[in-house]
């Protein structure tokens, strides 16, 4: 993070302890099972996931409800500890009690329900909640509140009560609350599921902006449309990684994606439909702009050809 005046104490641990410099999150053979209360059986939510996330990258984790994606998100923040396997965040194992707060300070989380994650009845007090927990002095907190609220464009609302704000605005406050803790990673756990199209766009734009500022972003979602601009997509199914790769690689596998109960981005769906008609649309067309450009240029060449 490049917020001025607050360099992060990066040198807290010996370099030798760091496993790999470039993978900020390392997940090895992660299994997590929870006990079903009535039926007395152990149900696996995560069933053997191995995954590395590069520092500064933008990764999307997609899957239907019950695919284990939320549990995966929580295990990166040590809200859920591995039944077996391990999760290492910036060199710290999440199940080592001594480093719990190191992990949580580094990994910020934004949840689905905009209402249920704000603690205080005043916006700026809510943003202060995280830094207060970290024991930061009040003057420094004030600076952090200003920077965090400005970066989500909510500074003028700092004295308001959250329940008077729109869903998108509440979600932006939640993001500011996380940013004020100076995290290296921000995990968004279905942040747009309860928002209207306007609110959805607000949150997606901020996500992109954070990524550009160098924060590692992990987006958990079931909307394919939101993942077009990611570096990498991981599709989960029944607690395992079903497919992973870059958006271009992933969206080429249309049938597998539909079989997993997910819906392709619109432009990809049209491109796939055209391919079925024998038109060789390039695989890297993922959004509406790309699709339009392609069709226009294609029909231009066709026109020239028929004239010649």
């Amino acid at each position: 993070m490049q917020h001025e005046g607050n360099p992060l104490p990066k040198n807290r641990k010996k370099e030798t302890e760091r496993l790999a410099q470039d993978s900020i999150i390392q997940i090895h053979d992660l299994v997590y099972t929870y006990r079903h209360r009535e039926e007395e059986i152990n149900l696996p939510a995560i069933n053997g996931i191995s995954l590395d996330v590069e520092r500064g990258s933008f990764t999307a984790v997609i899957g239907r409800n019950g695919s284990g994606k939320s549990t995966l998100a929580k295990s990166i923040n040590a809200l859920v500890l591995p039944t077996s396997g391990s999760v290492i965040v910036d060199g710290f194992k999440t199940d080592e009690e001594a480093h719990l707060w190191d992990v949580r300070q580094r990994v910020g989380m934004v949840f689905q329900n905009p209402d249920n994650q704000l603690v205080s009845a005043i916006v700026e007090d809510d943003v202060a909640f995280g830094p207060e927990n970290l024991g930061i002095n009040p003057d420094e907190i004030r600076t952090r509140i200003r920077i965090a609220l400005e970066s989500v464009d909510m500074y003028e609302h700092r004295k308001m009560a959250p329940h008077l704000l729109s869903g998108g605005q509440k979600q932006r406050i939640a993001i500011a609350g996380v940013l004020a803790m100076h995290p290296d990673i921000v995990i968004f756990d279905e942040p747009t599921a309860m928002l209207d199209p306007g609110g959805r766009k607000e949150v997606l734009d901020i996500m992109k902006q954070l990524h550009e500022e160098g924060i590692t972003v992990v987006l958990i979602t079931h909307f394919m449309e939101e993942t077009i601009h990611c570096d990498r997509i991981v599709i989960l199914d029944k607690g395992r990684v079903a497919i992973e790769g870059s958006p271009v690689e992933i969206f080429a596998r249309t049938e597998e994606i539909e079989a997993l109960g997910l819906r392709l981005p619109f432009a990809v769906e049209i491109a796939a439909g055209l391919r079925a008609h024998g038109i060789h649309v390039p695989q890297d067309i993922l959004d509406t702009d790309g699709l339009v450009k392609y069709i226009v240029s294609e029909s231009d060449t066709e026109m020239k050809r028929s004239k010649a």
């Binding site: 809200l79 949580r104 209402d115 009845a121 007090d125 830094p131 907190i141 509140i145 939640a174 803790m181």
Partner: protein, 278 residues
């Protein structure tokens, strides 16, 4: 519907009253209530009225807003008044069967009713000029000495903060559930008390489930934001006494002084004046 209920009747403003340290205001209200019990005659009430009027003027809260606070306890005031009027022995002014009104009874009734009115007016000035969240901060700070005795002051304050945050959310939730069940033909307004109580089940069950869902989500979100109790925690808005707070202290001291002096030197004067008039 239920959303129309305004909770914690804070009147937004920028007066000095609004800015005074909440701890000081809480203590001042407690002293003010004590002063109402020091006063024993109407002469003392003159002092109270002057004090109350001054503070109300400074607060810039419209009088009708403050008087609105009396509405819910009007019945209690009338009850107190009637009881005092009928139950006091003394010089009889009016009599009917077992009921009698005495001169002393009338005096007591007016006196006690006024005491209640002043009590409500004074303490509602506290909530009218103090944001609930500041009130919470004030209470937490005042309770701090009790922490050594094992009272979980931080936890109590955190609970109050969260309650303030989620009261509007829960009211909204209740409103939604009520409407949804009404759309399914639920009837909350007719039938015997037993029937009506039973009709609440379709509201209460979803409401409790909703409250637990909120609690679960919120606990998770708080943990994710490194919450680990009051230990090692800083506070953004640490309370600090300022110059205007010192002025307020002087004011309350002067007020108390006059009330006490009146009690010592002028007691009974009002009775003489009343006797002279009638």
């Amino acid at each position: 519907m239920i959303r129309d209920i305004t909770l914690g009747q804070y009147y937004p403003g920028y007066s000095i009253m609004h800015k005074i340290d909440p701890r000081l205001k809480i203590v001042a209200v407690m002293l003010y209530i004590a002063s109402l019990f020091i006063v024993k005659d109407f002469m003392g009430y003159v002092v109270v009225v002057i004090g109350l009027a001054t503070v109300t003027a400074i607060s810039k809260v419209p009088l009708r807003f403050i008087l609105r606070g009396l509405k819910p306890i009007l019945i209690i005031i009338i009850f107190t008044f009637t009881l005092n009027m009928l139950m006091t022995k003394g010089e009889i002014l009016w009599e009917w069967k077992f009921l009698h009104i005495t001169k002393e009874g009338l005096y007591n009734a007016v006196f006690m009713a006024l005491r209640l009115v002043f009590l409500i007016l004074g303490s509602s000035l506290l909530t009218l000029t103090t944001k609930p969240i500041k009130l919470t901060d004030g209470i937490e700070s005042l309770l701090k000495p009790l922490k050594r005795m094992g009272l979980p002051t931080h936890e109590l304050a955190m609970m109050m903060t969260i309650a303030l945050r989620f009261i509007p959310t829960l009211l909204e939730e209740t409103d939604k559930i009520m409407k949804a069940q009404m759309a399914r033909g639920a009837d909350f307004e007719t039938g015997s008390i037993f029937r009506r109580a039973k009709a609440l089940i379709p509201i209460l069950v979803p409401l409790f489930i909703g409250a637990f869902r909120i609690a679960q989500d919120l606990a998770l979100a708080m943990e994710a934001r490194c919450y680990r109790g009051g230990e090692g925690r800083t506070k953004l808005n640490a309370l600090k006494l300022k110059r205007k707070d010192a002025l307020a202290m002087v004011f309350i001291a002067v007020y108390l002084g006059i009330v006490i002096l009146e009690r010592i030197f002028l007691i009974g004067l009002d009775a003489k004046i009343i006797a002279l008039l009638f």
